[in-house]
Amino acid sequence: MSIRIGIMSFAHLHAEAYIQNLRAIPGVEMIGLADDDPQRGEHFARLFEAHRFRSYEELLEAKPDGVIICSENSRHLPLVKLAAEAGAHILCEKPLATTAQDAEEIVRTCRQAGVLLMTAFPMRFSTPLLEVKSRLDGGELGQVYCFNSSNQGELPKKHRAWFVDKALAGGGAIMDHTVHLVDIMRWYLGSEVSEVYAVANRIFHADEVEVETGGMVWVTFENGVFATIDCSWSRPPYWPSWGGLSFEMVTERGAVWVDAFRQNLTVFTHALQRPYWAFWGSDPNQAMIEDFVQAIRAQRPPRVSGEDGLRAVEVVEAAYQSVQSGQPVRLQRRAL
């Protein structure tokens, strides 16, 4: 029996990847998409030759097994409510929400409705990161001491204007680029964040946007591990790729440098007049979407949970508090 999946909103550009990921999985039926912006919905329905439902309600009436929610960050909660009510399992784009309050409500809603909730953290499926995780678990790296990490990118405005709209995105670079590394470290360490310090500025693209474009977030874990995350939109538009995710992990035996997107060809073309990186590594999105589908099929929890999404949002919220106060913030974890 095929697993039927629909996509709710194409506000987030990752929907463009996910739709293709879905279609690449045998036994999955991509039933179509719906978007509250009819023009955007029509555009992507045409582009991907997909069925467009006239509303989210209509999509859910088609009784999909699961949905992927790719709306603007602040609009995840209402779509989660609709989908959960309809009994559809949910893969929600990151960050899970723009506030810890909303993220908690998302997790609770899905629990009450008895549907699976997965947060879209594809880095958990990145093959280089999985390799490091297995070395870590195998004990060959010893105890972890700290991380020096980066998830920098270009200004995402050129992909979607809402990414730099505080009301819809929830913030700027900190909101956009903190959660992946927080999640990776929680996953690696099996420990929760206890303290957050952050600094931010708006020097890159100062005349184009009102949210922070430069930022460094400092997280300390309950087990004593400390880490910095450079979340800046510091990559110029002519950088060879959109950005990247890399970290140095220091352990009692030395250090490991990891770049999740280094498996590239460097390509020079007359057309572009600058080099670009063509990724030949394994697509983490594909593996993530496959896990979502398998979780639905087996009725088991997906490898990334809603709680994982919530914990990352809590760190982001604390980071903004720290930017405001100029002081480290003790993290208050929400009980579930």
Partner: protein, 335 residues
């Protein structure tokens, strides 16, 4: 001009080689023991002094390359005798001591130059020049990394004694803390952590520092004594609103040696090296020498050395307390 060199470890011998390329005369060396200084004195046809005071009496300038905790008393002694001073970084282990040194030299009317050699490394100097030309616009974020293995010493490893070296934040990371200030200007606040403060007895150390500059720029400085010998790696990424500069010592190394060595020995301390015509240490000493002869201001001054100590000391304090340290003005302490 007559030069005396105090300390004959790696830095003393490196500076001696640099002085030998100027027309200054190396008069002599002083070390902890006379024996230690014999070979290098012989090499440069110079004397060995048993006492620092005796060396001072015969020179115009003294180059202090001793362990950090000895810098300030030696500076004070030289200044009292009216001698110019070149001092290895860090200038001192505390702001108070650094101020004392700077004030004493001002009062004595002698020059004091602090050997923040990173400013003389061609890759760092060029990046600064490109930024000053405005090529990458207004600086927003700086990322600096300097990584090596934990310094070893046959006896009495003063690097690992924090009361003598200040530890990784003060000894190693002050290079990049100074560079960050040189490039992005005065520092407003400092937040830092280091592994050895969390894990007593760890065999590796690693420090992280975030600086907020007064102009809004943010610096991220990382320092490692964690890599396998003989690794020495430096990296930086300087981003402005009109562009960015990247550097990685490994990526820009023009030679990759895949020679099999039966017994590979690493030096006591990791050393940065890329083949260039003139050693950055020589460039540094030549510039200090020219400044002494011609009264020109070199690219790094006593006040810079003081400011670097203030940032590094704030990092040490932050790593210890867990709090953000806001820097105070040094103007009052200098007057």
């Amino acid at each position: 001009m007559r030069v005396g060199i105090a300390g004959v470890g790696f830095m003393g011998s490196t500076h001696a080689a640099a002085w030998a390329e100027t027309d200054a005369r190396i008069v002599g060396f002083v070390a902890e023991t006379v024996e230690e200084a014999q070979p290098i004195a012989q090499q440069y046809g110079a004397k060995v002094f048993a006492e620092y005071a005796a060396l001072l009496d015969e020179v115009d300038v003294v180059d202090i390359c001793t362990p950090t905790h000895l810098h300030v008393p030696m500076i004070l002694e030289a200044a009292a005798k009216g001698k110019h001073i070149i001092c290895e970084k860090p200038l001192a282990l505390s702001v108070e001591d650094a101020l004392k040194a700077v004030r004493a030299c001002r009062q004595a009317g002698v020059h004091l130059f602090v050997a923040h050699v990173v400013r003389f490394f061609p890759e760092y100097a060029l990046a600064k020049q490109i930024i000053d030309q405005g090529q990458i616009g207004r600086i927003a974020t700086l990322r600096l990394l300097r990584g090596s293995y934990r310094p070893k010493k046959p006896v009495g490893n003063w690097f690992l004694d924090e009361s003598k070296s200040g530890g990784i934040l003060m000894d190693l990371m002050i290079h990049d803390l100074d560079y960050a200030r040189w490039v992005a200007g005065e520092v407003e606040s400092v937040f830092a952590r280091k592994v050895s403060a969390v894990h007593q007895g760890s065999t590796v150390d690693y420090g992280l520092v975030i600086l907020e500059h007064k102009n809004g720029a943010i610096s991220h400085v990382a320092g490692a004594w964690a890599y396998p010998p003989p690794t020495f790696r430096t990296r930086f990424e300087l981003s402005g609103d009109q562009g960015m500069i990247e550097f990685d010592s490994q990526a820009t190394s023009p030679i990759e040696s895949l020679i099999i060595k039966p017994h590979s020995e690493a030096p006591d301390v990791g050393l940065p090296s890329s083949p260039v015509r003139e050693s950055p240490y020589t460039t540094e000493i030549k510039e200090f020498y020219a400044a002494l002869k011609e009264g020109k201001t070199p690219r790094v001054t006593a006040e810079d050395g003081l400011a670097a100590v203030q940032i590094a000391a704030a990092a040490v304090q932050s790593a210890r307390s867990g709090h953000v340290v806001v820097l105070e003005s040094l103007a009052e302490g200098l007057s």
